[in-house]
């Protein structure tokens, strides 16, 4: 299963806002997904997180 996470971009937000987006994504994966989308079954011990660049070319 692949979950693509968007996040808010600089400069209208700051680093802490972006960290909040990461935390929100994690809450979605580990809590909301099971209740909102029971059709997806996730092995929670094998969630890897991948990222490229800083998305710096996206201006973070």
């Amino acid at each position: 299963m692949l979950i693509s996470v968007d996040y808010r971009l600089l400069p209208q937000v700051n680093g802490l806002d972006i960290l909040e987006d990461v935390t929100a994504a994690w809450k979605f994966i580990f809590e909301d997904l099971a209740s909102d989308h029971p059709e997806f079954v996730l092995d929670k011990t094998k969630v890897i997180v991948a990222g490229q660049s800083a998305g710096m070319l996206q201006v973070l």
Partner: protein
């Protein structure tokens, strides 16, 4: 996994920084973090140093359209995103900066924020925003891939993350892609045909590693095995230097005439010019000696022409590469050495189909080449033309250094020879000698690094070597004396207690000289481990006792040397260096009490009656004991000075056999107030080699015996040897102030 792979190959991912953040803060922790040239920190000179990416400076007006307005997310459509593969396969590694985002693209904000150094302000400086600070042993297993020539996110970002994780004991693997720029895998996808095997070479293993890391049950997560600290090894690999290559030509053909007054009892005189040589024909049994005028490490090549009715046989040649006249004027076989005779620098080759170009595949270290024609045939002879050598070093040719400019020309020459010695030893590591053993030794590294700091200042090569040792600890955390680079990086089985202990001082020297405290922090645990073996030899009275283990204490090749006193001094010296390093890193100095105990105990090695340090039941007086206990400063300088001078004058004191120990004795003189005697010793010892004809300094030098060798036969000696390169360091650094005050500078 396959989906990630598929996604990556279809779409641009983003948020490498977010992946690191998730590794730091997300709970439960991710099973693994995969960083594709990700930003690991904003505390970085590239981000904070006003980096100018594009040729034209941007103004606020250029980017104002993106500065206000609503918050946006996601992929910003661009008109000409430089990172999307173009249709052409030929653009692999194209200069992405030449395709900088147009002013219509939101991507110009990156250029603008860097240029104006705005990231710190916009992102904020809350401590949780620096993932590096959260890289502890518990950080998720991490795989990082990064191109070495990345200009948008310099590879330093990944090196720092990898070394931090490694130092903390987390699982980490950094895959470096030589020569690759930012977003290289997109080019690779476009071009994974006959142009590039990037995908299969780097990205496929990356996914295998992620699979491997995530298949470990988190409950029984294993730390990376101590046998090889892969993360440290990765850092070392990423620092592999570019080897510079340049062509040098022979000066003339020489012959050696007997000369009883010369150190080697002969002197070279010109026999032919190289121009004359190019027209001379040579047949069975003929030979000549080429003189290149100076020393270098490199690859020998020439054009072999032929003259005759038929070229009806191969040409058999014997080539011997000489650093000193003996190498090319005597038969090197049989060689009565107890180390391998395979080091003896000669090759017998058979060359087919003349005329042809001959390029010798092995690197040799030489000034002279003896060319012997073993046979051609009765029908033809050969000519040697276009003779050349491709010299190699990590130091670029023509690197100009400020001259020493001392009034005494001999010192200037000693300085030049030191630097040439160091240059030829600086290859992909600091080799002990380009002729033999061509590998990295820890004790030699310390002296080379010190000399390098006041000459070429190649900090990265020192850093690489530090990480190589740190990557290869022995079971008890001790470091090997020597490391092999090939065929794969591996620790040698050799172990030397004093070399191990010196590691911390090499790290301290490096940190102080380069200002790179981060490396010192990463290697701190390794430094502490490297002192354990030496300290385990200290008995309850605080004295070094070499009989406490069977490990090798070196100090010098001199077989008669009693080593307890010298090792006692060396152990204090190393503890002092590590205490100083701790202060540099704002840590508590770990060895204050042991140093104090050992300094008191050192008096048991001092003979007040004779005013010298002695060692062992026979109260042996040696240069080694007095050098190291003086460097340890266990007595006030004037008393150390007296001990050193008394030792030098003592008829039965055990003298050094190697320049390695001569260095420490000379440095001990210099730091104990005996600068004049220190300079005299440099002039006498290293100056003696210069007068004997040294182009580079030797592994071993006995003024009274030109055939002295620690290995049984001088034909296997190395005459360009790391541990004798230190006069530049002594003259340019240790004795510099004294030379200036004494009016010896022009």
């Amino acid at each position: 996994m396959d989906q990630v792979k598929e996604y990556l190959s279809l779409q641009l991912l983003q948020g490498g920084y977010l992946a690191y953040l998730a590794g730091a803060h997300a709970r439960p922790r991710p099973a693994a973090v995969l960083s594709i040239y990700g930003v690991s920190t904003f505390e970085n000179p590239f981000v904070q140093g006003g980096t100018q990416l594009r040729k034209q400076k941007l103004t606020r007006d250029d980017v104002s359209a993106f500065l206000g307005g609503n918050v946006t997310t996601g992929w910003t459509p661009t008109k000409a995103n430089p990172f999307l593969p173009s249709a052409s396969e030929g653009i692999l590694f194209d200069d992405v900066l030449d395709n900088a985002p147009s002013l219509d693209d939101r991507g110009v904000l990156l250029d603008y924020f860097l240029q104006e150094n705005l990231y710190t302000q916009i992102v904020g400086t809350a401590p949780e925003l620096n993932p590096l600070s959260y890289m502890t042993e518990d950080y998720p297993p991490t795989v990082i891939i990064h191109g070495t020539k990345d200009r948008y996110v310099p590879i330093d970002q990944s090196i720092r993350a990898a070394s931090r994780l490694e130092g903390a004991g987390a699982m980490v693997r950094l895959i470096t892609v030589p020569g690759a720029d930012h977003a290289f895998e997109h080019w690779a996808r476009a071009a994974d045909s006959n142009i590039s095997k990037l995908w299969s070479t780097y990205l496929a293993p990356m996914f295998r590693l992620v699979d491997e890391f995530t298949s470990v049950d988190p409950g029984t997560k294993q730390k990376s095995p101590r046998a090889v600290r892969q993360g440290f090894l990765d850092v070392a690999e990423a620092l592999t230097p570019e080897i510079h290559k340049w062509t040098e030509l022979p000066l003339e053909v020489v012959t050696f005439e007997p000369d009883a007054s010369a150190y080697f009892q002969c002197r070279g005189v010109r026999q032919y010019t190289i121009d004359e040589l190019s027209r001379l024909e040579w047949g069975k049994g003929d030979e000549f000696i080429l003189d290149f005028g100076t020393h270098r490490a490199g690859y020998f090549a020439f054009h072999l022409a032929a003259q005759g009715t038929n070229i009806d046989a191969p040409v058999r040649l014997k080539l011997t590469f000489g650093e000193i006249p003996y190498d090319v004027t005597e038969d090197l076989h049989p060689c009565k050495t107890w180390i391998s005779t395979s080091w003896v620098p000669d090759e017998t080759i058979n060359v087919d189909w003349c005329p042809t170009d001959v390029e010798m595949p092995r690197r040799y270290s030489f000034r002279y080449v003896r060319v012997q024609v073993i046979d051609t045939s009765a029908k033809f002879k050969v000519l040697f033309q276009n003779i050349r050598v491709q010299a190699v070093s990590a130091i670029a040719p023509g690197t100009k250094l400020a001259s020493l400019l001392l009034k005494d020309e001999l010192f200037n020459r000693i300085d030049e020879v030191s630097m040439l010695t160091l240059r030829d030893c600086m290859q992909t590591v600091f080799e002990d000698g380009p002729r033999r053993d061509r590998r990295l030794w820890l004790g030699d590294l310390r002296l080379q690094a010190l000399t390098n700091y006041c000459t070429y200042r190649n900090y990265d090569l020192v850093k690489r070597c530090l990480y190589l040792f740190a990557a290869l600890p022995r079971e008890n955390g001790a470091l090997p004396a020597c490391v092999f680079e090939k065929p794969v990086v591996k620790a040698a089985s050799d172990y030397i207690v004093d070399y191990d202990a010196l590691f911390g001082s090499v790290v301290y020297d490096y940190a102080r000289e380069s200002g790179d405290l981060q490396t010192a922090r990463d290697l701190w645990e390794t430094v502490l481990d490297s002192m354990k073996s030496a300290l385990s030899h200290v008995n309850s009275s605080g004295e070094y006792d070499s009989t406490k283990s069977s490990s090798w204490n070196f100090l010098d090749w001199q077989p008669d040397l009693h080593k307890d006193a010298g090792m006692h001094g060396l152990t204090i010296f190393c503890c002092n260096a590590i205490n100083d390093l701790a202060q540099l890193l704002n840590k508590d100095p770990p060895y204050m009490s042991i140093v104090s105990k050992m300094a008191t105990a050192a008096l048991s090695f001092y003979s007040p009656a004779q005013s010298v340090f002695v060692s062992g039941p026979d109260a042996q007086i040696s240069w080694a004991s007095n050098a190291w206990l003086s460097l340890a400063r266990v007595l006030p300088p004037e008393q150390c000075k007296k001990a050193l001078l008394t030792t030098m004058a003592h008829p039965h004191a055990v003298k050094p056999l190697t320049p390695y120990l001569f260095h420490y004795f000379t440095e001990a003189l210099a730091v104990s107030g005996a600068e004049k005697e220190s300079l005299a010793l440099i002039k006498d010892y290293w100056g003696g080699m210069v007068k004997a004809g040294a182009d580079t300094f030797w592994e071993c030098y006995d003024p009274n015996d030109s055939r002295a060798s620690p290995y049984g036969d001088c034909h296997n000696n190395s005459y360009c040897h790391a541990w004798s390169c230190t006069p530049s360091y002594l003259l340019r650094r240790v004795l510099r102030e004294y030379l200036a005050e004494d009016g010896q500078v022009t």
